[in-house]
Amino acid sequence: MSNWQIFLSRLDSPDSMFWRAFEATILIAIFAQLLAVLLGLASALAGRSRVWSLRALSQSYVLVIRGTPVIVQIFFIYFGAALFLGFDPFPQSDSLILFSVNGSAVAGIVALGINDGAYMSEIIRSGVNAIERGQIEAATSLGMTHSLTMRRIVLPQAARVIIPPLGNEFNGMIKNTSLLAFIGVYEMFFDAETHYSQTFKPVPYFLAVAVWYLLLTTIWTFIQGYIESSLDIDYRVVQRSHPFLHRLTYAFTHQPR
C-alpha cells in the first residue's frame, strides 16, 4: 500500500483499536476538563478568600502549574504519585464511574485536570472580577453572606463570561490528550505511534491522526459557537429560545417549583 492509500484507509476504515483510542481521547478530554473546572473554581474562590494561607495556596498552584511543562507534570504525577503517597494510586486496572480503565488513563486525567485547573482558575477569577462591585454590595447590604452572594449573584453571571474561554480550554484539552501516549494511555496518538513503529511509515499515520484531531476540534468549534451565540442574547430571550442552555447556565438562579 502506498502512503496515500494508508492515509485514506486510516480515515475511511480504521480498525477497532482505533475506535477504542478515539473513544478514550474524547472521554479523557471530558473528564479532565470537568476536573479542571472544579479545581479552577476551588482555586479561584480560594484566591479571593479572607484567609491568607488559602490565597497563597491558590497563587502557588497557578504559578507552579503554569510555569512548568505539561509533559513534566504528566510524568511527575504518573511516576511520582506512588513515591509521595506511599501506595500506587494508578494500578493497571482501575474503575472510573462506569468504565474500567487503565491506571495510566486515570493518571492522565488527573494530570491534565490539574494542569488546566490552573488556567481555569485565572479564567474564573477574571469572570468573577467582571461582576460590578455594586451588585455584590447590594447583596451584602441585604444581609447576604459572602458564600450566598457568590452562589446566587456572582457565579451565575460569571458563567456567561467564563464559558467562551472555557470552550477554548476544551479545544486545547482535546489536543493535549495526545501527550498521554508517553505514559502508555491508548489514545489516538498512541494508536498512530503503534502503527508507525510497525511499518516505519510515519507520514500517513501521523497525518491521518492529525485529521482526526482536526475533526474533533472542528465539531467542538461549532458546538462552542452555538453555546456562545445563545449566551450572547439578553436573558429573557435565552430563556425562551434555549431552555436547555438556560437551565445549564442559570441553574443557580432558578428554583425548582
Partner: protein, 289 residues
Amino acid sequence: MLIRAHGRPQQGQGAHVLRAGGSSETEQGESDAPVLRAADLVKSYGENVVLRGVSLSLQRGKVTCVIGPSGSGKTTLLRCINVLENIDSGTIEINGDVIGYRRDAAGALQPLPPRQVARQRQQIGLVFQRFNLWPHMTALQNVCEAPVHVLGMRRDQAEGEAYDLLAEVGLSEKSNAYPSQLSGGQQQRVAIARALAMKPALMLFDEATSALDPENVGEVLAVMRSLAESGMTMLVVTHEMEFARHAAHHVVMMDKGSIIEEGEAAAFFASPTSARTREFLSGMLRNAR
C-alpha cells in the same frame, strides 16, 4: 392584566405595603428611643480623613436629609452605618444594638464575625445611587431573593409580598421584566422595593436620584415621599433641595467630614445659621434655575 400563576390571598383594601417594618408593636413602648444613634464616627482612607467625628441620631418614623457638597463624607457616612466600610472609631447603634462590633468584658469594641454583621444588616435597607439590581434576575426575583435566601421565607409567600411591593412602587406590570428592560427610574423603584422586602427598621438612600435622567427623578421621589408618609425612618443623602424642604423632618449639613449645621427642616431652610450653609444653599438654588 397580569395573571398570576398561583392563587394568593388578596390583602385588605387600602392596606399599605410601604411600611415601617421595624416599628412593630413590641417596640412601641420605647418609641422615644432613636432608631439609629451614631456617635463620634471617624473614618479615613490612608491620609485622607473622610469623617471627623460625626454624631447623629434618627428618631423613629422621621426623615432626615443629609446635604452638603461632594466629598463632604455623606456617602461614606451611609456606607459606615451599613458596615460596607469599617469605621476607625466611634459607635453605631440600631435600636440599641451596636452594629458591626461587640463590647468585650473590658468594654472595648471588638469586630463581630461577618455572619453576625450580615444578620445586623438585615435591619438596614440601603438604596444605591446606581440601583445595583442583579441583571440576571427579573424585578420580582430581585425583590424576593433576600427574603427567600436570607430570611428563609417560603417562595410563594415571598413572591406575594414582592408583588405587593412592586405594585406599591407602581411596577406591578413590570414584575417579570429584567433590569435591562427598565428605565433608570423603574430600576431604582425596584431597588427600593428590594430593600423594603427585608422589612428594615431604617432605610438609607445614597443620592438615589443622582444617576437618573431628569424625567425619571420625579417618580422615584414620589415613592420616597410616600414611604416617608407611611412612617418609615429614613436617612436620605440628596441634592434634591425641594425633597429635603418638603419631605424631611430634620436636615443635616455636612462639609469636609463634619456636620456643620443641623436642625428642623423648615427652620433650617428659612434661616440657616452658618455662612457655609447659606453659601451652599444659594449655590444649589442658582443651579436649579
